[in-house]
Each structure stands twice: as C-alpha cells, then as structure tokens.
C-alpha cells in the first residue's frame, strides 16, 4: 500500500505531471506562434495520421476535442454550451462540438477574432486552416465545416476507411487501404505546403514519424505494467498523461524521455507491490470517454476500493508493430495509423466477435488486466463512443462473466451527469461483481 489513510485516495504518479503540462505548453505555443506570424492549426483527433506531417512542418496544432475536455474540466464549458444553444445548434449535438462552436462564436462574433479572456490555457488562436478526421468520430464533416465558417478558414478532412472484421480479411484489402492512405497523405502534404508556403522537409518527417512510433511504443509498455496486482497506475493518470502520445503534444524527444521516466516509476511500483489506491478491492475497465467535468467522481469510487486499471480504447496507443523496414515515411505513418484501427482484428476474428476497433479490445482488456467489472459511460451526445457499449456489455458477460454498470452522462455537459445517482449504483454493483467473481472462480478462471 502506498497511500496512507487521510491522504489523497489516488496516489498519482509523479512522472505524470510533466506529461500533463505538455497540454498547457501546446496551447501557449500555438498562441505564441500566431503572435509571431507563424501558422497554427485546429485539428481533430486523427490517430497519428495527419499530426506528424504538421509537426514536421513546424505547425502548432490545437485540438477542439481536447479543448472541449479542458473547458469542461476547468468549469468554463457551460458558457460556451449556452452560447452554442443561443446560436441555434441543437443541444443533443456532440458536447465537444457545442463547446467549441460556442467558443468560436464568442471569439469571432463578439471579440472580433480575439481569444476570449476567460479561455483556459491561453485559448485557441484563429487557425490558418482546420484538419478534420474520419477516424472514429462521425461528427467530422459538419462540426469542422461549421468551425471553418466561423473562422473563415479552409478545412481539410483526413479520410480513414474503417472496415469490419470480415471485410478486412478480403484478400488485398489491407494493401489497398495502405495505398489509399499514402495517396491521401501526399495530397495533404501538398495542401499544407500551399497553405504555409514552404516545402516539406522529408528527413524531418522521417525522424518525426520514428519518434512518434517510439513514444507510443513506450507508452504501450507503461500500460502493460498495469496488469500487475495491485495496479500501479489509475485511469486518472492515464488520461492526464496521454496527450503527448495521442496528440503528439509538445516536443517529441522530450515526450519520449518523460514516458521512459513514467515507465521506470510504474515499474518501480510493480516491483514494490505498490498500488495506486489504498486498497484494491475491485479492478475495473472504463469505457469510453470520461466525464471530464467530474473526474473527482473516480476518487469517490477509489475510496470504495475501485481501481480503474485500463480504459478508453480510443485513447490507447496501437499495439506495437515493426515498421523499421518501411522506407517511405508516409507509408510508415499510414501503417502506424492503420494499426490503431485494425491492430486487434486478427485476435477478434479468432475470438469470433465483432467490433475489432472499439468493442473487442475491451474483451482483451478485461481478460488480461483481470477486471472484476466494467463501468460504461454512454454519452447522450456521442454516437461513436456509445453505440458499441451494449455489445461490449453482452460480450464481457457472455465470454468472461464480467458484469457492466452503465452510467449515462456527457463529456462536457455537467447537466447530463448525476454523480450521486452513479454512486448510489456503485454499492449494489459491488454485490454483482462479487457474485461473478465467485462464478469465474468456480469455472476455473484465476480472477
């Protein structure tokens, strides 16, 4: 045990803080870039596809999705949600999109392009262009088109085909995906070159791609260590530390060093049997996007002995693959990005389950991280993070006898999440987890 009674319930990793600070750094750098006459871009989470290209072109990128989470976590999202409402956007749209549409409206209509003074982390400056992405999120076109209209800036949509498991194994499918991806990235490079008025430094892109892959490999290894019992790292640390790998926030060489530091700290905890919470009674997997406005909710659950040992597949790095022999950096980037989308497919096919990108991984997580239960967070305003959850719940029960608790809420809108109601369900769910723990043991499982 590493946490003393009366101290904070979750013993946060020291190595997490400098990684978390990368987010602030990114936003400040983007504002500084605009002030210095350099380009800044608004990007969607694109799973390593467009980011390395922008990074190699020295373009600062900020992420409206991430900014929606920041606005929620810092308590300023509501005024942007209200503003989006007043602009006429339906309230059931994605919480991230509403927050940033409200932000864009305030910035462009009320402040004549100036960053709102209340904006956390220095705000998002007016972008040179916007880069949306087809990976996972189905709001990609309309949300960024609307933002582009407010900002009077062009929008480049990055395309990413996401096949089903059976389709993926049609002969030649993967190669055609790679070919399409590389061609699309070449067009994107040409677009970016035209926007910033300079040519791509291909050696720099090569180095950037390799660093991105290595950063994510180390980050993957950190999360593998969390299979230890007691688990040495809580989901709250994961969410805090992920942007440097997921969004490539900050300097990549520095991020690599910081993730290596984190690996050492987590490994040290494993060696010393040091858990991240006082008493790990239940190990849980969390899906999908957390209620950013109410993260303290997890501290309450930690007090009950709930340790969140694995989470949000969409935020996890791809399973490492060897791409060292792929000489073209665009092909390497494409294959790495595709690995995020299809990296679990072979396994999922063997298990005869569906949902290789977003559903199956939870089966693997629950089995390998030895989870007693799953906390599912279907979002009222997000289809992409919600529609697979009933299937996840059924699959976990059918294949592993791991029960799920579903708590509806929202990523940004505090009004749609009721932590008291959620906590009231925690106690009976413990009884459910105990019941299935006995059943698994009777069936010969080791957890």
């Amino acid at each position: 045990m590493v946490v003393e009674k009366g101290k904070k319930t979750i013993n946060r990793l020291k190595s997490m803080y400098p990684l978390r600070a990368k987010v602030n750094e990114t936003y400040l750098k983007s504002v500084e870039a605009i002030q210095a006459g350099k380009p800044a871009v608004w990007g969607m989470l694109n799973f390593y596809y467009g980011d390395p290209i922008l990074k190699a072109m020295d373009i600062e990128v900020v992420y409206p999705e991430n900014y929606g989470a920041i606005a929620a976590a810092t308590g300023v999202a509501q005024q942007y949600l209200d503003r989006a409402d007043a602009e006429g956007f339906p309230t059931h749209l994605c919480g991230y999109s509403l927050t940033t549409l409200g932000y864009a409206s305030r910035m462009m209509k009320e402040l004549n392009g100036q960053i709102p003074p209340e904006a956390p982390f220095g705000g998002m400056p007016k972008p040179l262009f916007l880069m949306s992405s087809a990976a996972i999120c189905d709001a990609r076109y309309k949300w960024f088109q609307a933002l582009g209209r407010y900002m009077d800036a062009p929008v480049w949509p990055l395309e990413a085909p996401i096949p089903g498991i059976k389709e993926f194994f049609i002969e030649g499918y993967y190669d055609r995906m790679v070919k399409l991806g590389v061609k699309h990235l070449r067009d994107f490079v040409a677009f970016v070159e035209g926007m910033v008025g300079k040519k791509m430094d291909w050696d720099k892109l090569d180095k950037t791609a390799n660093l991105m892959i290595e950063v994510n490999r180390v980050w993957h290894e950190v999360n593998e260590l969390r299979k230890a019992r007691p688990c040495p790292m809580h989901s709250r640390d994961f969410w805090s530390a992920m942007p440097a790998a997921l969004f490539l926030a900050g300097d990549l060489e520095d991020s690599l060093r910081l993730y290596q530091d984190m690996y050492k700290e987590v490994k040290d905890r494993v060696n010393n049997h040091a858990g991240t919470i006082l008493e790990e009674k239940y190990r849980l997997v969390f899906a999908e996007l957390p209620p950013w406005h109410s993260l303290a909710f997890f501290d309450k659950l930690a007090e009950r002995g709930w340790n969140f040992v694995i989470e949000s597949v969409g935020y996890h790095p791809p399973i490492p693959i060897d791409l060292s022999k792929v000489s073209d950096p665009l092909e390497r980037i494409t294959k790495f990005s595709l690995q995020f989308l299809v990296g679990y497919y072979e396994d999922a096919r063997k298990q005869d389950v569906l949902g290789g990108t977003t559903a199956y991984p939870y089966l693997k997580y629950a089995r390998e991280w030895k989870c007693d239960g799953a906390l599912l967070h279907p979002l009222i305003s997000c289809r992409s993070a919600s529609t697979h959850l009933p299937y996840v719940s059924d699959m976990l029960m059918e294949k592993l006898k791991v029960p799920s608790l579903s708590i509806e809420g929202d990523i940004v809108d505090l009004r749609l999440f009721n932590p008291e109601d959620a906590l009231a369900k925690a106690e009976p769910f413990e009884e459910t987890m105990e019941h299935y723990r006995k059943m698994r043991k009777q069936a010969g499982d080791d957890w």
């Binding site: 109601d421 009231a424 019941h435």
Partner: protein, 280 residues
C-alpha cells in the same frame, strides 16, 4: 429477538418488524412527505405499537431506500436493490427477475437464489416511474389509486407519443379536449410507461418467474400493460410496497444471527426514536 427493516423511499416510508423465526410482527407504511427522511421515527413508532414492542427490544435494524443514511437508529444501511432482491425472494423463491417501480425510479433486477446478480435502473427521467402516473392523475383530476381500474374499461388504447412527463401531460390535456375517453387515454398512458420499463428490463434478459413490486404494482392497469409488453406471467405480492423493508428486516436478522453464531458483538446505534437532523 426482534429485527427491523426500514425502507425510506421518495414517496413512502415502510417498516417491517420480524422475530428470529422470520414471523412478521408488523408492517407499516406512511407517506414520506415533504419532511422527507425525518419521519422514520414516526413510522417506526407505529410499527412498534402494532407489535407491542419497545425500540430497545429490537436487536438489529437495517435501513434501506433513498433516505437510508438518515435513520439515526439504524445499525446498518444496505442498498434498496439488495433489500428488494432478498424481500422478493422470500415471497417468491423461484423469482429470477424483479421489477420495482417506485415514485422516483424503476429498478430491474436479476436474482439468483435470493442474491442480486445484475440490475438496470432508469436514468434521470421521471418518464419510467410512478411520478409519471402521479403527475398525470393530478392533471386529470382523478385519484392515483383509481387510475388502473378506470383504464381496464378502455375500448381502445390511445397512443401517447411523448415520453417526457411534462409533454405527456400536455398531450393528455389535448386528447381530452379532443373528446377522447378518459379510460382510453389511461390505457394508452399505461402502455407507454410499460413499454419503456419493459425495454429497460429486456436489457437484463428476462427470466421467469417475474415479480412486479413497488407502488405502481398496485395499479391493475399497469400490471396488465406490463404483462402485454413483456408477454409473460407476472406475479405481484399481496403488499408490493413492502418488499424492500421486508428484505431489510431479513438481512438484519441474517447479519445478527451470523454474528451471534461467530461469537461476535455487532455495534449498534442508540435506540432513541429521534428525528434525523441535517444541520447539527
């Protein structure tokens, strides 16, 4: 030895007293009322009076329901889901699915040998709860307890398309002004509520025997609508409001007897029947 279960729901407070053989000595229910959670002492006093017992005679007390944390004389708090599961199982040993529709929520429970193994509850909205019927009864100017019997006289069911309680009220008023018969509107309302709760229950996977409890189970129209929606036989306890308190009393007895058998002394609270205070 005597044991008590106290269930403080959003609408009703219930107390069950039993002896160490499991014989029911008294079962009392009273409105929780606006003094919500402060009146457990009053309902307990009535229950003791009915059983000719004093509060000091009670060996162990379990509180459950939304107000369970505000019963100063309760020795232990247990969630209403666990208590309902135990209470229903004691009345219907073959129960596998229980649906409790109370004033504030609807709970669907999967039960195995008296143990809660899984559950789902409605989220944040009054549309799947007894409140939906309360509000509608008030809008229509009829007594809540008459709604079910009136609806059984329906010659057809009027479809209620709004699931939101407030909008459904408006729809009901509009239907009345259009000349639709009250019984037909009520049959439609029960149908709307039943199909919503049935969808919730199906998430669990319904297995017989299925038992319906909670205040709404006293509504004959709702019981019929639930049977039609779920297409299965539904059992209703004689007193469907008391299963939570009954389960709490059973768990009080079990907890106490287990401790006695192990030679352990259980900590108990002061047996003074006082109001709960929130600001001291």
């Amino acid at each position: 030895m005597y044991f008590a279960g106290v269930d403080i729901g959003s609408t009703m407070t219930k107390v069950v007293l039993m002896d160490n053989s499991g014989n029911l000595l008294s079962a009392i229910k009273g409105p929780t009322g606006p003094e919500y959670r402060q009146l457990a002492n009053e309902v307990m006093r009535q229950a003791l009076e009915q059983a000719s017992l004093q509060i000091d005679d009670i060996s162990y007390i379990v509180a459950t329901g939304y107000g369970r944390l505000n019963v100063p004389f309760a020795d232990r708090q247990i969630t209403e889901l666990s208590c309902h599961a135990r209470g229903v199982s004691s009345l219907f040993p073959n129960v596998r699915t229980a649906i409790d529709i109370g004033g504030q929520d609807a709970k669907c429970m999967k039960i195995d040998n008296g143990r809660l193994t899984s559950f789902v509850m409605n989220d944040k909205c009054a549309a799947g709860t007894g409140r939906f019927l309360e509000v509608t009864a008030a809008t229509l100017g009829i007594r809540l307890e008459d709604m079910g019997d009136i609806s059984l006289k329906a010659t057809k069911k009027i479809q209620i398309s709004n699931l939101c309680t407030i909008f459904a009220q408006q729809e009901v008023v509009a239907l009345l002004s259009r000349g639709e018969k009250l019984e037909n509107i009520l049959a439609g309302l029960h149908d709307a509520l039943a199909s919503r709760i049935a969808a919730l229950a199906r998430r669990l996977g319904i297995k017989p025997d299925l038992v319906l409890t909670g205040g709404v189970a006293k509504n004959t129209g709702m019981v019929r609508a639930m049977k039609e929606s779920l297409d299965c036989e539904i059992f209703v306890p004689e007193e469907p409001l008391l299963t939570g308190a009954l389960g709490a009393a059973i768990l009080a007895k079990e907890t106490y007897m287990k401790a006695v058998a192990a030679g352990e002394a259980l900590p108990t609270k002061s047996r003074r029947l006082e109001k709960a205070t929130f600001f001291s």
